[in-house]
């Protein structure tokens, strides 16, 4: 279980997170929604220790990761996988080497064992015969699939998704959503997904959290969030320009 307790974070004079509290339930998909530039990615990077808060605790299985040194933090990170917005594949390596990378770094498996896992993970994300291709030869959707295969390589308990469907066409968006749902079920994962694609949010989320002005202002099941009367939530879901959310 992941708990964020009273997280404060500023960059210069800009306050991004302002006393944020959030609990991510184990074995469920929690989707964090909020306006662009509202601190969603910053929140995600706090969960995995890429950014340390100015104040507050990030508890992963009860352990406050903000207090850990690099070595202990790396041990905690082995529980995680992350799919970045543009997949962040290493462009100096082919697809197979990208997926194999964490295994080569952290295990003493033989090359055959590693390649078996690579093929298995690529199959799990619906890809085959792409092992030898370079990331630059892949489409956006394929890159995200390879990124997910790499995130799954070490059999993590938690996967973080940073806007997994941004920049994809509707068909590919649906394919990635289905993939997230299937992967979450198949590997019994705890997933944290950042998105502002409303349709995807309600499709994949067991829990939905709305981030606004540095705090979670609404949290619940998709049905509860959809029924919310909070004016910010209503405006956001309706995609209306009239309401409390200021357009900058």
């Amino acid at each position: 279980m992941i708990q964020l307790v009273d997280i404060h974070k500023s960059f210069g004079k800009q306050k991004v997170l302002d006393g944020l509290n959030l609990t991510v339930e184990e074995g469920k998909t929690t989707v964090i929604i909020g306006r662009s530039g509202g601190g969603k990615s910053v929140l995600l990077k706090h969960i995995i220790g890429l950014i340390r808060p100015d104040r507050g605790q990030v508890l992963v299985d009860g352990e406050d990761i903000t207090l850990l040194n690099d070595k202990d933090l790396n041990e905690v990170r082995k529980k995680f996988g992350m799919l970045f917005q543009e997949a962040a594949l290493f462009d100096s390596m082919n697809v197979a080497e990208n997926v194999a990378f964490p295994l080569r770094e952290h295990t003493k498996m033989s090359n055959e064992e590693i390649m078996d896992i690579v093929r298995n993970r690529l199959n799990a994300v619906g890809l085959s015969d792409v092992e030898e291709k370079m990331p630059s030869e892949l489409s956006g959707g394929m890159r995200k699939r390879v990124g997910l295969a790499r995130a799954l390589a070490m059999q993590p308990q938690i996967i973080l998704f940073d806007e997994p469907t941004t920049g994809l066409d509707p068909v590919m968006t649906e394919a990635i959503n289905q993939l997230i749902i299937e992967t979450q079920r198949a590997f019994n994962l705890t997933c944290v997904v950042i998105s502002h694609d409303i349709q995807s949010v309600f499709e994949i989320g067991h829990r939905v959290a709305m981030l606004y002005e540095g705090r979670i202002i609404e949290y619940g099941t998709p049905e509860e969030v959809r029924a919310s009367r909070n004016p910010v939530m209503v405006q956001f879901l309706a995609g209306s320009i009239e309401g409390p959310i200021q357009i900058l």
Partner: protein, 259 residues
């Protein structure tokens, strides 16, 4: 605010920014040092960088060294001829190359070739979140990316300097003996008479320092890139300019200490 105050404030801000940056470069260096002594060191990463910094720079270093030696012989000949001391051309070329021009020109050429590429590659990795991806996969980016580049810089620039020194003297010999008709024996004898092993070693020690500066600054600028393609371009330019200036300034300081 009046003019003089604003000017002083601006100068102060620039000084503070530069001191801060120097501190950050030093912290990165210390962090790299601490990761360098922690096993495991992946040899293939280091060899790959050594090939990139060293082997792939040989052609440009050979060319630079040869022509520098040739032009030094040509210039030196016209000067020494006034005193009928043409036979000193050899030792002048050899001393100039081993003490000064070999290390400095080699490291400047490697900065242009490999230091810029380090900044561009790491900068691109930063803006496309590949460095964050490494950290997320529990791989320390400093150990994985910076340590091999620093080791390659410190080891390969002195080795390239050896090549440059040799080619410079060879170029000088060709121009001096075969074109300007200086006696071959006198040319070589003066080299052995005036150039000591200490000159060569000190030159190589300087080259190692320059190699460290080149790779450290290239890595620092790349590692701290912000702002997309434009940021990568800016980081690359800044890396080459800052590394070149650092090499020239530190050359004076090191020369003052060593010779």
């Amino acid at each position: 605010m009046n003019g003089p105050t604003a000017t002083v404030e601006r100068i102060g801000r620039i000084v503070l920014e530069n001191v801060e940056e120097l501190g950050r470069i030093l912290l990165l260096f210390l962090s790299a040092l601490s990761w360098m002594v922690r096993p495991p060191l992946k040899l293939h990463h280091i060899l790959k960088q050594m090939e990139f910094v060293g082997v792939k720079s040989i052609f440009v270093v050979v060319l630079t060294g040869t022509f520098t030696g040739m032009v030094m012989a040509l210039q030196g000949y016209h000067g020494f001829r006034m005193f009928a001391a043409e036979s000193l051309v050899g030792s002048t070329v050899a001393l100039g190359m081993t003490r000064e021009l070999g290390p400095v020109l080699t490291s400047l050429m490697v900065t242009a070739r490999a230091g810029s590429a380090m900044a561009a590659e790491l900068g691109t990795m930063r803006v496309t979140e590949q460095i964050d991806a490494l950290a997320v996969m529990a791989v320390n980016p400093v150990k994985h990316l910076i340590v091999p580049r620093l080791i390659a810089g410190v080891l390969m620039v002195p080795l390239l300097t050896v090549v440059s020194d040799f080619m410079g003297i060879l170029g000088g010999y060709f121009v001096g003996v075969h074109i300007l008709n200086i006696n071959s024996g006198a040319f070589m004898k003066n080299i052995f008479k005036y150039v000591t092993l200490g000159d060569i070693y000190n030159g190589l020690a300087k080259a190692a320092c320059f190699g460290l500066l080149m790779s450290l600054i290239g890595c620092y600028k790349g590692f701290n890139t912000r702002g997309g393609a434009e940021g990568v371009g800016r980081a690359t330019t800044e890396a080459v300019v800052l590394a070149s200036i650092s090499i020239l300034v530190s050359d004076y300081i090191l020369t003052a200490i060593m010779f």
